[in-house]
Amino acid sequence: MSDTHAQSVAYVRDTMLPEQAPPVSEAGVIKWLRENLFPGPVNAILTLLAIYFIYKIVAGSLPWFLNGVWTASSLAECREILQGTTGGCFSVLTERWNQLLFGFKYPSDQYWRPLLAFVLLIVAAAPVLFAHLPRRLLVFSAIYPFVAFWLIWGGTILAPVIALAGIIAGLLVFRRTEASGFATASLAGLVSAVVIWWLGGFLSAAASDVLALRPVPSRDMGGFMLNMILGTVCVSLSLPIGILLALGRQSHMPIIKWICVLFIEFIRGVPLITLLFVANVVLSYFFPPETNLDLIIRVIIMITAFASAYIAEVIRGGLAALPRGQYEAADSLGLDYAQSMRLVILPQALKISIPGIVNVAVGLFKDTTLVSVISMFDLVGMIRGPILASTEWNGVYWELWGFAVLSFFVVCYGISQYSQWLERQLQRDHR
């Protein structure tokens, strides 16, 4: 190029200039600071305000954390140790640790049982949550509910084993008779399961001390354990019910559709606390006089109803988001309704609804604290009731509420991060 212009232009550079470092204000930390913290006067003020705010919080809470007392046995002793300096009285957590976790009635020599159940919950949940773990582990996930029931509530192991046996028998019968149609096969499966349960009832009544753990009545459950029990039980029960409700709401049969619509809209229109009032004071009127359902069972019934209505709406969204072609493709393969739902529609619809389902699950887990209003002693109930009202710890607000905030935050934030990760994993390029 330079040749062509050599005559017409006075000077043509024919070598590259060496690269120069950018100006100081446009590189490295200073550039980042300029762009991200001080892009303009308003933002500079905001940044300074934010720094001041953070400084205030850290300066206020750091000595409180570092000076914390972990070994006192009452608030008065705590204050004595602190001698007027700032410091948290975290000994309330160490001293009441078991109460915070298990409530104040669970027999203290049996704490290993809920702990073991919790550890096993992690093992059982892992293959469900992470698809790359070996699929054989799912067998354990399937039997986990029965193990957990036996561990937490105690009693003979025969009861959960028989329940499991009934379900297995029902499934086997269903498989055998599936060729004769979905409805018939379900009926046959149900009948065989009920027969096994009925027969097993005699067996477990006769041999009630086979591998028996000390039975713990439901009203003795409390603390964070109660929140975990209510959360996991209600979410897992409400998933299948929610799916059925969503399918019912999408159905072409007007009567079934309207039953589902009424149920869903009613439940979604009232606050959970009124449903808990129902569980507490009304529900027992609707059962035969001789039945005496535990409060925790009544609460589980109502929370499950509540959660399933919300999950149904989420899944309905997933069903509606599927392109019509999927329904038509399933029909054109000659699949009947049950098959097309099971094999084609639901796997895709559920995948779309995962974020929504997780949102409902997180919300539900948070809502389990509401049971403290009807005088059950979950984590919040324990803090408000037995601990803050005791003479030793009357007035220790920050440490206890901080612990409650932390417990719920860890679980809920963990779940929502997992769901975002899962969403990324499941992303397929749809049209």
């Binding site: 940044t47 049969m253 009567i255 229109g269 009304v282 009127y285 509401l370 209003v373 919040v380 935050f409």
Partner: protein
Amino acid sequence: MATYSDPPAGTFQLSQLINDTRYRSYTFQIIALIALFGAVAYLLSNLAANLQAAGLSFSYGFLGEPAGYDINQSLIDYNSQSTHLRAAMVGVLNTLLVALLGCIMATVIGVVVGVLRLSPNWLIRKLMAVYVEIFRNVPVLIWILIIMAIFVAVLPQPRDFRGEDAEASMLWGMFAFTGRGFYFPMPVFGPGSGVVIAVFVASVAGIFAWRRHARKALFDEGRLLPVFWPSLALFIVPAVLAFFVMGRPVTMEYPELRGFNFQGGIFARNSLISLWFALSIYTAAFIAENVRAGILAISKGQTEAAASLGLRPRRIMNLVILPQALRVIIPPLISQYLNLTKNSSLAIAVGYMDLTGTLGGITLNQTGRAIECVLLLMLFYLTISLAISAVMNAYNNAVKLKER
């Protein structure tokens, strides 16, 4: 389904009820209906038997009886001799009050936080993200209780305001923030204040008329009329003039320390304030996410297109971005309002007397009419949520993209 050839007529078999797609849905529906009626009848018969055994009957007669309990925060006249119905009305109004206040404050905080989450300022962005995550992931009940505890523990008691060198003092001599609650000045309307109010209302109407006129002038004749300063003048000047012309009929009654407590002014109990704050900041975290999602949903091309038309940044926001973003933001916003209203039933945890506290709390416990009370309670919340959904549907239809 309609393309199946008809089976030969006159050979109806019972198995067709379940195997023939023409009859199957009827079979299932009838079975479902029978099961439903059976279940309802079973439950109702149990109910009747249980009520009879307990010597109760289903009646709302108790609503007319005197309630016999006091309510410490009430918008209408109420004393312990009023009826249960009156107590329930107090509860309804209290619920609506905290819901309304909460919705307003939650919207303000939520919009600010949502916008700040998209700010170019890294620190502010992160701070707001931390706020949203912390408040979204912890139960609202815990927040209500924490804020109540903070109010009681941190704020001074009325006795701290006493004496020459008091530990606490009132803000501008008007507001007193105590652990028992907040005291505000209360306007007292003397004779002639009706005129002032009427003038004020008329001037607000005048503002709208002027804006309309300016808009019409802009669209029809292309004249750009000033809007902001005339509106401000209309808002302030006539009302102030009327106020002085009528001889200052509206006065303020300030809270005053008498004895061990404040007298006069408007008193908002700590239960109301903490419930209001807690519900607002909890719901605001959700609203912030909605606002952020709504703004992000508008593609950058819209901003660029508007800029290339020569619009200034504020007009781009007002005329192009906001109208589109609001379409995305408002439906979830309204459902957050609904959630807030339902969550306000947690008032019972801090002793604020909303409907759950009066009808579902004390009235229920005093009269033992559990079924009637809970039924009324549910009906009230159901009505509110149906009303809100109706508003939402109307809005959705109004802003629906009008496609050809």
